[in-house]
Amino acid sequence: MKMKPETEAELAEIIAGASGPFHIRGGGTRSIGKPVTGAVLETGGLSGITLYEPGALTVVVKAGSPLAEVEAALEAEGQRLPFEPMDYRGLLGTSGTPTVGGVVAANVSGPRRVQAGACRDFMLGVRFVDGTGQIVKNGGRVMKNVTGYDLVKLMTGSWGTLGVLTEVSLKVLPKPDSAACILIDSLSVANAVGAMSKALASPFEVTGAAHVPVGLDGHPVTMLRIEGFAGSVDYRAGQLAALFSDHAVRVEHDAAKVAEGWAWVRDVAPMQGTAGDVWRISCKPSDAPALADRLDADKLLFDWGGGLIWALLPEGTDARARLGALGGHATLVRGSDASRAALPVFQPEPAPLAALTAGIRARFDPRGVLNPGLMDA
């Protein structure tokens, strides 16, 4: 059975009257987590921009709104979602229309996360329906708000397991008119992470730092992005190029090519259409080279200055076992049903944190009807 409420009240009624579990679905483009069995509950009926004030850098959006629609509205005012949400369709082989609620529920960010912050950092407010059918709001639409607990953060990245989002408020930022990319050729992973650290620790505001061990021409390439007013971008590109003058450095100034290159990194293009499981590992950047060695992956991609490793491994491989005590936080982003049944999708938490997580879930969804088991170990 499929349900697609048109209003928050209707959604609340459906959840209150639940006779079994729901599988919450925005655009259906992010098939991540343990497989969920339940009646499909679609959020696409809750759509539209409620309020957009470019002068206040805020937008309020119904959760089921297509992401593209919101991005187009921002673009028209020269603004954007600064956290650069990735599009999972290519990597996961899904179709459909990504929604704003889906982005928030999965806390989806992109390469700019390393400088600007994650989706959660731009979340100002939420409205949601909890597992009992109760409508709850938290936060609001102003940039600074410490009135009560920050449930906005808690809801962001909770994958619909604490409540179904109905409306979200986001902080947006101006979209700079200019961008450039510094490309450094043929670095080893260790040297690339070192170079990215050096760039990110410079005063030149690098908004993207990625390393591709096998670039389009078959060789390693390290990418550093800068954005801003034209004069400032030129200046910083020069300064950064000078910082790495002992390497083979190129500077790409064509804005369209820069955008294309970073969309390629953002959407993990090298692993699209491949066979095998895809893991996402969050780590301390300087640990990345050692972790990459241990992973012994078929393909690798490093983002966030090394703090994010994408790894393609043969189906069913336990990446965490390979990483061992060195750690990192591994998420199985793309896995067959068998892999996802056999391995925890999300990094298992130590017992006291798992108890807190379980306690919160039991309070927000006491009957266990919202995406039950999706985030379980």
């Binding site: 650290s197 300087s286 919160i360």
Partner: protein, 482 residues
């Protein structure tokens, strides 16, 4: 402002409780002498005072864990305290509570420039975090005005902001991980040197929970490389509306200044009399600061000044050097001191959508007349975080009550126009009873449910944040007192 009645059974057990605390802490880390506990009777909201049962000053996470375990077993409420600079009464004790001060825990545990973080004990002051990394040209971004004194523990508890958060965000955006002790003594590690690990964002809900979910003893903080330079520009306008429109136009033009500060006429007059910064006498004054290399600053300021000129400013002053920059900031930085010279004052921090600025300032002016109390406005205009300062005379009977009533009306106005009660100071006791104006019962219930999970006995800072009536059934202290 009401506080719950102290639990007589706890007061009666004072000797035993203190003895148990002495067993787990060094002798000089437990204070129970009434002459000495008085030093902890209030925070920066000095209108309310109450000496605690005892004060403990642990030096390590392990000691904090032992102290909390004792209090948990004894059923004693614990009020965590950083440097005691809360303007909201966040560290106000009750007579039956133990103050847990983290002031002795001020070590830097690790600095890592390659991975751009610092790990500190949370008793360390905000400014001294930057102090620990500035020789490498790094800094810690959140800069509350009390940064010389306030502790990271309090910054995390209140999710503190500052003047530069338009660009750098507030505490929660710069906090990577914590070591936290739960009320039963359990020590947990959340987050760390990595980003966004998946799983529920417990760190996100801990930051800003006003010491009600656990005691944060160590923090991993993001540090940033200092910009090459910064330069402010000062603009005077003949109405609040025009100044507000100018702020909005600057933001819409795609410039992101690090700070946009706003002062109204009463505030300009007071600070000018006090600090003599040479400000123009006008209705509204903006200080806009941008960062970068000299050329980048010129590029941004060029655009900002062009926008400002379209709004017919009565004054435009660009800092030519560090000295002039200092003079532009001088008045703003002494605004609170200047107000203190005139009278006692109460500082609010409601936040509003920037578009509502002119209307809200007009209404505050009207309310100020109705109540017969002067209000000066100084605030972070870029993010709508207002700081109305209500002047009153604490020695005049009834003045404090009138001041509080006016403050409550101003905060309700902030909520009415789509804003909130507090942008960076926290709820504490000060705005506790106004929470019902912003949140429906179900909204508060969801927040209190989180506390139920972290602190089932409701022993951590229990009489704060939520209206007493709303939290009553949950507070064991209230139950025991019945």
């Amino acid at each position: 402002m009401q506080m719950p009645k102290p639990d007589a059974s706890i007061l009666a057990r004072k000797a035993r409780i203190v003895e148990r605390l002495r067993k787990v802490l060094p002798a000089d880390a437990v204070i129970d002498d009434e002459a000495e506990t008085r030093a902890y009777e209030c925070d920066a909201l000095t209108a309310y005072r109450c000496p605690p049962l005892a004060v403990v000053l642990p030096s390590t996470t392990e000691e904090v864990s032992k102290v909390l375990r004792v209090c948990w077993e004894e059923g004693v409420p614990v009020v965590p305290r950083g440097s005691g600079t809360s303007l909201a009464g966040g560290a106000l004790p009750t007579a039956d509570s133990v103050i847990l001060g983290v002031a002795r825990m001020n070590e830097v545990l690790e600095t890592d420039y390659d991975n751009r973080f610092i790990r500190v004990q949370t008793g360390r002051t905000n400014l001294s975090v930057t102090g620990a990394v500035e020789e490498h040209d790094f800094f810690y971004a959140p800069d509350p005005s009390s940064q010389l004194a306030c502790a990271i523990a309090g910054n995390i508890a209140m999710n503190s902001g500052g003047a530069h958060c338009l660009k750098y965000g507030v505490t929660t955006n710069n906090l990577l991980g914590v070591t936290m002790v739960q009320m039963d003594g359990t020590v947990v590690e959340i987050g760390g040197a990595h980003l966004d690990s998946g799983g529920l964002d417990l760190l996100g809900v801990i930051c800003g929970s006003e010491g009600q979910l656990g005691v944060v003893t160590e923090a991993t903080l993001r540090i940033l490389r200092k910009p090459e330079g910064a330069r402010p520009v000062l603009m005077g306008f003949d109405s609040n509306e025009v100044a507000g429109a100018c702020v909005s136009d600057i933001i819409k033009a795609g410039v992101l200044p690090v700070a946009i500060e706003f002062m109204d006429r009463p505030c300009i007059e007071a600070t000018e009399a006090f600090a003599k910064a040479g400000y123009p006498m006008c209705e509204a004054l903006l200080i806009v600061e941008v960062e970068g290399s000299p050329a980048e600053i010129d590029e941004q300021l060029g655009l900002i000044l062009q926008i400002a000129r379209r709004h017919n400013p009565v004054e435009l002053r660009e800092a030519k050097d560090a000295d002039e920059a200092g003079r532009i900031w001088l008045g703003r930085k002494s605004a609170f001191g200047a107000m203190g010279q005139i009278n006692d004052y109460m500082c609010l921090d409601g936040t509003i959508p920037v578009s509502e600025l002119p209307y809200v300032l007009k209404r505050i002016g009207e309310m100020s007349k109705e109540y017969g109390l002067d209000v000066a406005n100084v605030f972070h205009a870029g993010d709508g975080n207002m700081h109305p300062l209500i002047l009153f005379d604490a020695n005049k009977p009834g003045d404090l009550e009138r001041c509080e009533a006016l403050g409550a009306d101003i905060l309700r106005l902030c909520v009415e126009v789509g804003g909130c009660l507090t942008g960076e100071h926290g709820v504490g006791i000060e705005k506790r009873d106004l929470m019902v104006d912003q949140y429906a019962p179900a909204d508060l219930e969801a927040q209190m449910a989180v506390k139920d999970v972290f602190d089932p006995k409701w022993l951590l800072n229990p009489a704060k944040v939520f209206p007493l009536a709303a939290s009553e059934s949950r507070r064991s202290i209230a139950l025991a007192a019945e």
